[in-house]
Subunit: 345 residues, 2 copies
């Protein structure tokens, strides 16, 4: 491999000059610059990342902690990851992927000076990674909102508003009994940071609008999802509008409604909380509150970069929830009797 000295020699300049044409940190005359660039090209020179990190204490790498926990929606995770990686590249950054759930990896890559910043996904209410993140000298960005962010930056969808808006939309259409099918039981019990906010938002709006809200977890599997639908109607047979926050279960829930001969949106309205592309991929495009996973990932990177460049203090950013009306919500329609055919499968 060619080194910076090889380039300097070939271009007949000093190593510092080569370094400076590379970094642009001081003005270089046009002819010199041209000679250097030519040499770089001809030698196929690439600065050695380790040497650079050692000399500048900057790695141009950021860590992405993406725990592959039970029942998380892989699809959504990948969207976050995509957003993070793409945004990182636009800042000339690469991404080191950690999937361990524990804080060990954070310590290793942060204190080992492998990365300049760390972004943590799938944050829980009381996330055990927070102490390690605080201890690190690199800035950290949480995707999610823990109970106590402890001075770390956070980005997330405004799940409170998402819950509010979904319920408000249904209530405004005259629905008096609303169901909410959430994430898998495992996620529900893990106190993932978005859950409480979504529920609080939905409940407060329900109370205010004087509608009944029945919220329960929902497995992602076909049988689990269908069981959840049945359970929901068992708990509140007069439900005419449901909010679904479970991308995997979505098709199964829709299928179950069909099996129960409940036409959407005539007899039952559905608003999903999911990435736009999954809302659009359904046979009937779903009215949905968008979960802009790619944008949030991108935002996390931008926040990291801003903290890196200007020593700015931590901020927390909640992305506005926007509901888009599509084909699955309509004015409430009184159903005389619920047609339950639990074994129609």
């Amino acid at each position: 491999m060619a080194t910076i000295d090889d380039v300097a020699k070939a271009a007949q300049v000093s190593t510092s000059t080569v370094s400076y044409v590379l970094s642009g940190k001081r003005p270089i005359s046009a002819p010199t610059k041209a000679r250097v660039e030519k040499a770089i090209k001809e030698l196929g020179y690439r600065p050695h990342a380790g040497a650079r990190a050692l000399a500048s204490s900057q790695t141009n790498v950021l860590a992405l902690i993406a725990p592959l926990r039970a029942a998380v929606n892989v699809n959504v995770i990948m969207q976050f990851v995509t957003g993070v990686v793409q945004a990182a590249r636009s800042y000339e950054y690469d991404v080191l992927l950690l999937t361990q759930e524990d804080a060990g990896g954070i310590d290793r890559v942060a204190n080992g000076s492998m990365v300049d910043a760390v972004i943590a996904m799938d944050v829980e209410e009381d996330d055990e990674r927070i102490p390690a993140l605080q201890a690190a000298r690199q800035p950290a960005i949480l995707i999610g909102l823990p109970r106590d962010s402890g001075g770390l930056s956070c980005v997330d969808l405004d799940f409170h508003a998402a819950g509010t808006q979904a319920v408000r939309h249904l209530a405004a259409l005259g629905h008096k009994h609303i169901g909410l099918l959430g994430s898998d039981h495992a996620v529900w019990e893990r106190h993932t940071s978005f859950l409480e906010r979504l529920l609080t938002g939905a409940r407060s709006e329900a109370t205010q609008r004087k509608v009944e809200l029945t919220a329960l977890p929902c497995a992602s599997s076909e049988v689990g999802a269908k069981a959840a639908v049945d359970e929901m109607f068992a708990q509140s047979p007069r439900i005419t509008g449901i909010v679904v926050h479970n991308e995997q279960a979505l098709p199964h829930i829709m299928a179950r409604l069909r099996e129960l001969s409940l036409s959407v949106p005539e007899e039952i309205s559905v608003v999903a909380l999911c990435p736009q592309d999954v809302a659009l991929a359904q046979p009937i495009p779903l009215t949905s509150v968008d979960l802009p996973a790619v944008s949030i990932g991108r935002a996390a990177v931008e926040m990291a970069m801003s903290r890196l460049s200007s020593e700015q203090p931590a901020e927390t950013r909640l992305v506005a929830a926007v509901l888009t009306e599509r084909g699955t919500t309509a004015p409430a329609h009184k159903r005389s009797a619920r047609v339950m055919r639990p074994n129609s499968l």
Copy 2:
């Protein structure tokens, strides 16, 4: 941050001694070792990755190239990624994630000495990343089998055998007309490396067993998948057994069969080619040829490590295809007339 010299000072030894207790590359007396380890712990010392890379020309990082192409199955990708990351950790390696489709990233991380090896996923028949991979001085492992591996190591499921076995299983049960629903059109046309092998395997077995094989791509969306089922029956109405290689479409295909009043496995047999967990997650556990994505990811890392440690030549490893009989295949049953109700949705 504490440096190795700080540790040496605290433990009253030379820096090289600290280095050697860390690497174990030369014997250290028990008491010295203890003193050093104590100092390390007390100072919270972590070797600086860049300095280490510079001095040893080894980064303990490997690159994983996972292009997020259209219509690839995110679920399966994540399984590969999981396998790679976990296996890497077991070798004290971290993973740098690249998602660009082009070869630029390879050049950057390999020639920039950011990684010791690179693993590339989603390999096509004539993959444009191969030249860059060959040019790099780091070993490369392809997950997939290109037309010409050009001296690179490859791992993949033995898709030829997978096709063979799926068809053989159905043929042995007496099915004379077999359908094959594959991946999305986009993947089909991109000449992803597994496709040709799967088809060749299936076709040769079909020819040998004298059964008719109707193979076609299948979109992953609900409507697309259902349309593919209809199209398949339109092309060959007497089909009684189908092979499905499309995890996303699987539930929709099963749903379509149900809508067509075709009971599985009495009237129609289904064998899937997918990760075991998705085969088991269906309402009826599917007879399937396992796609052991996690293991393959792990194998890729092992191959990288072996090439790193012993300068061994490139090898290509095809993981045996194993078919597990579950609830969705049964002896062929002659159907007098296909009940087609295309608009039953």
